[in-house]
Subunit: 438 residues, 4 copies
């Protein structure tokens, strides 16, 4: 199996219709630059610490995204490429067994060296080599080109992780530092009542055929799926509604919870979403702008799948399946409170929304009700790159739509993010759905 | 929610066409008697010990299956019923939050008291009360009748657990005791080559409508599902094939494994199915008849989902989805090496098999490739009984078809068993499937 | 080192002045018989379960004490001795690395087989062989004789463990079963005020010279030690005084506690001695006679070293050193509420006590304030028997005087029992001491 | 107890004979300056990371040593003192329950903020306040003066920790960075044969009376102790000897080990001292100057108590008691390879040594064979400062003599350092002793 050539459909091809390589070159440069811009507010110590096992230091993200290009592109496709430092493969390989041994995940925060300065030199070294590769000329549909596109998309994923991971770090710091300063804001009012949007069932097309845009292997192959009539909420669940759940004893009644969820909240002592803090009668939440009052009409964020599932049951509803969600989202424009909006937090819905279901893209990743599984006909790509998504298709849960830290060019209706049911440090919330006619 | 009356479809009704209550009364008596027969070879010490957290002592099974009738039927429907011992609810409640607090699961083996003798008296007390309930007369479609049927089915599940759990105990005992004696047997020959059976895709009916037979809530509602063309093996994977996997380095190459699976086999040091022991060049396996040579043509058993999944990938195949499996099984008779066959181990396929796919029922539970999730339109039943299946619908995996310790009247094509991916103590193996035309 | 002959002083010799072997033979038979008598109230299930890692099933004690004679005496000194079952060495070796591999300690409760019946046959097999050995004649000062004496003393230690371990099991059982029935008792009155007894310091003789009685290696060599003037309480701390400690917030103020102790009570949620249960305003304690009201004037029992140390600090005192304790005890008769008294619980002091310090022997083992260390000049005995005491001389704490389950012929002023600071399942309490003139 | 005034003997007084406060002022300034000098080679990321739970980031040491002065001196004795930042008490309190809640110890490495820059400002703020306190005038024997001296001594302890902790961090870094560069060195030759020095037993004076120098509370009160005739090695155990132990199978034979030690080396997979790495036939060791060949004649370092104890038993010897060690050391000059020597590693013995026992002070801390316990008549000081040493007097082990990172003015014959038996990250080795005439 290890010698099987990487199939054309392993990772979806770059945009169809001959995307000029110069355009890609510019996109890549802009992407790399944005990564640095996201790290800019942080000092070297902030960038070196690891808050929790599943988060990583900013510096590690900066290096790992460079190692990805070095390991999967430059060493294979740039003749005469010289490794910046042979020890970096050990330091900055994330989880690719096929790429050799690596720094244990919980100990990324021990890598005080290489220093930030040296990691920045690593980034420049890799970028200079990528320039040489571009200068040599790349065939649009070649494997090198597809891996470069993958590297760009990969870096966009780590942009979001830089923000979620630094928030986890600052939330664990007794000083509750802010990633960026912000003036106090007038609180928004209560949310508008939720409206239900009905959809007929039937055979739908799910996933990406990847002819005219990038898609990850886990979005393929495009295939038929059968859905049943359902209704979906026109917006995510809000902080105000979550407070109702808390005040109604939602965290104290096992009838709402999955077995694993009930065990988890008992063991961890959870009584609210991550980063919420009660100060007397007031609930605050730790954000990238420091400790802030809750915004009632903004989507709730930093809840686990367990909590999302329990909330939905309490509300007499359920989470949408990922196929339902995708069916709805296929009809909506890819727009919303995404990274480019620079709010860096979920916002109440915009006033002048024209579509049907609001806030599908941006604000918060939305937990879905199924499981993260391969699509019918899916094949694990060959080689180490095949570990990118496939080996995690077990006991994880799909999130859809992107959050406030997701780059706009990175998200689409078929995009599948995935997490363990217990995880809360990403920007994840939920949207309700329910059956029709049962 | 807690006061919503239990819906008619919560647990499927007893057999349609007025199953005479007397017939049910006889079935129940026979079921209860078989439970005792299964425990008969064991001494009081064997019945009191708990091998692992997920297994239970035989004595606990004997008591818990009685508590189930007492708690869910007798206290509600038999006027004047007197609890045998009020402390037993704490001792023998398994996981029903709605039924109060309980003995911690890992400490069931500490219940040296109540003694076996007293538990047997408990069984008789409950059975006498059930007789009184029958004498009072029961309406065929009443909730009491349905809960009685559920109690019977529940007891059948624990019959299988008595055997898997005692095997776990004896496998952990350095004396490797046998549950029952058996003479040496001539080893069977190698397995016949596997044949693939093709199935066209399309819309299929999945699940039970429960009009003419019992079904658990997790098999409902019956619904349409879409499957794609596939092929399925005509028999389960055998011990001989598993040995090839081992000898080909299957446990040593991360390319075959899910991330969680690779972590698990590293941490646990797994190099073969549970209960296999190498003695020089010979592989033995611990069975209910003690330590025995492997039977090459018999289905492999006591493998985790992780191992089943890795084996399938190594073999260039995959696990069937539960919908594929059910579609195939709907066309086959419910027959095979089940509990009544009294082999108590997987056997090579029978010579004179007339159907298409052999050994679908019996021999080994077969891991499927999806996830244990609610069916479209599923609703969690009200009250504590709603905890029976529903709260486990997260991060578990479905097994189909029953094993050599499953009662024949208990299994059917729509039956969904479920386990965590790491678990190996049940009688679980696998059957391969693969895509067509991709 | 392994071949060095066992030195004469390894384990102290049997009683001086030619203790007739017939006397020893009778003592051994009586000891073995008492072990069985202690187990007599228990059923086979009670005897098979293991409450906690440091406790063992009664059945295991019955077998291990027989294995001890078999492994250390019979296989070496009885020509033609036939092992009862070669697998038993694995099952019933406790911790002797030099005697081969063994059943993991936390899994002694999984040994449902061998059955109690077979263990009883094992005992008889060993006893018959010992008879043959006696018939062959034994030299009084021979190694065989000394190991027989060691085996007898070892069995006495396990007599006490049978009782402490079964109490741990029954205390973990929600039915709170009693080891033996007992009628209700009138509660004793409050304790008499504690009196202090003064002792001058100086050079004292500590340990055993073992010329005229048995002693363990850890009591040797007899040596000089220097003690400073001190006072010691005339009786142990009582339940009534412990209640004062609780009511004064003793478990809530870190100023009284060692660092490890404070961590332990926080982690474990300890707020009282082991087995205490509050029922409204009343404190009960689980005993070998079931759940009973506290006896105010009886010594407190089932406290850890951490708690004993914290209580002493709260009381403005300290624990006695083991040398202080031994100096006091050398002057007192070996008498008290020991196993032969058959109270099986600590009692208020006897009325008619003639000595100085009461209850030094019996009632409760008394934590001392030092550490369990080798005496000056101590040498680890050669061979596996050298593991008996020596390898535990690290981070454990000495207890003195014996408790209500200690055989009278087993205890003496120089006797050193030892436990980890956190352990509470033995019958351990404390006596206060304090400095003089500082 | 909490209101009892701090006794004069709680912490020993500053040097007798009226040490001019100006001298103290200069010592304090020099001490504070040296702390900074030790941190100077490190970048901000190196100073922020925490290698293991028992180590701390350099930055944390810099802040904690300032908080110590702020909390115990300035807030009590400097009128109008303004806290630098009220949140710092939470961040930089180490373990003083009496001083309030604190950052969990394993999470000191998450304190990316306050930044190094701000911590340096904190240091200056505290130092300026100390200057004002000096300007106000201090009575030599006052509590403020004594606490200042304690703060100075405390800071010296953290100087050593800065070095041991940064070595732990760099040893866990795959780049194996060096704290400071150093040229390759010619390897020293093999060690000279060990010589034994004999001492008669008798009553000795142990501990400090603290009349003319500082001493910690745990060195008091000065008291008589009884020791027995013994011999002690004239130098510590060397790397060459430790290699013999390894090659003789020392890590593989349980007969040499304490029970806890054997469990630990099995669980941790230890086969050599911490930081040793085998490269083919060559052993290297990670040092403050990076990965270096072992120096045969230099003292072995980074061994646990378990290993030291096992080595001594293998060698037919034992560890010295702390009283034996102190008796020997009382007769030797306080000189050696200490921090001021700036070798920052153990060295072979100097050629021109004039005393009896070489390398008692400096090179490596020496494990002793007893337990860390209070001296007779010891009283825990009142208030939070009483937590400094006293609450750790349980299940720890005393080390004597100081290592290569110990300031010379900080060490003395009566000095008691203490660690858990398993700990290896400090600069700890051992010296052999043995009984005479037994």
């Amino acid at each position: 199996m290890a010698t099987r050539p990487m199939a054309r459909t392993d990772f979806a091809s770059p945009p169809h219709g001959e995307p000029p390589l110069e355009t890609f070159r510019a996109r890549l440069a802009a992407t790399r630059a944005r990564t640095l811009a996201l790290a800019a507010p942080l000092g070297p110590e902030d960038m070196a610490a690891q808050a929790i096992e599943e988060a990583s230091p900013t510096k590690w993200h900066l290096a790992h995204t460079s190692w990805f290009f070095e390991n999967f592109v430059l060493t294979r496709f740039l003749p005469g490429y010289r490794l910046f430092d042979p020890a970096f493969a050990y330091c900055f390989n994330s989880y690719y067994e096929g790429a050799g041994s690596r720094q244990p995940r919980p100990q990324r925060g021990l890598l005080s060296q290489p220093t930030l300065e040296r990691v920045m030199a690593y980034r420049r070294h890799v970028e200079a080599a990528l320039e040489r590769l571009f200068d040599l000329g790349l065939t649009p549909q070649s494997e090198a080109t597809r891996l470069l596109e993958l590297g760009l998309q990969h870096e966009q994923q780590h942009q979001e992780l830089i923000l979620s991971d630094i928030l986890a770090l600052f939330a664990a710091n007794p000083l509750r530092p802010a990633y960026r300063a912000a003036p106090p804001r007038a609180l928004c009012g209560p949310p508008e009542p939720l409206r239900w949007i009905g959809y007929a069932g039937g055979i739908v097309r799910i996933g990406s055929d990847a002819d005219d845009h990038f898609a990850f292997d886990n979005e393929t192959p495009r295939h038929d799926a059968l859905i049943h009539p359902f209704e979906i909420a026109d917006r995510p669940v809000t902080n105000a509604e979550w407070l109702e759940f808390i005040e109604d004893g939602g965290y104290g009644d096992p009838a709402f919870w999955l077995f694993d969820g009930w065990e988890t909240i008992q063991r961890e002592g959870w009584e609210a979403p991550a980063y919420w803090e009660r100060r007397g009668d007031l609930w605050l939440a730790m954000t990238l702008e420091g400790l802030r009052p809750l915004e009632p009409a903004a989507p709730v964020v930093h809840v686990s799948f367990y909590e999302a599932d329990a909330f939905a049951r309490w509300a007499g509803a359920r989470l949408p399946s990922e196929f339902e969600w995708e069916t709805v989202a296929q009809q909506e424009p890819i727009a919303g409170n995404l990274l480019e909006n620079d709010a860096l937090r979920p916002l109440p819905p915009a006033e002048n929304f024209q579509g049907h279901a609001r806030q599908l893209f941006g604000d918060v990743w939305e937990w879905t009700g199924g499981a993260y599984l391969p699509y019918p006909g899916y094949r694990r790509p060959a080689g180490a790159i095949g570990e990118y998504n496939a080996k995690f298709m077990c006991d994880q849960h799909v999130l859809r739509g992107g959050g406030g830290a997701t780059p706009q060019s990175h998200i689409r209706a078929s995009y599948r993010n995935f997490l363990h049911a217990r995880q809360r440090w990403l920007f994840a919330g939920l949207r309700l759905a329910r059956d029709v006619g049962r």
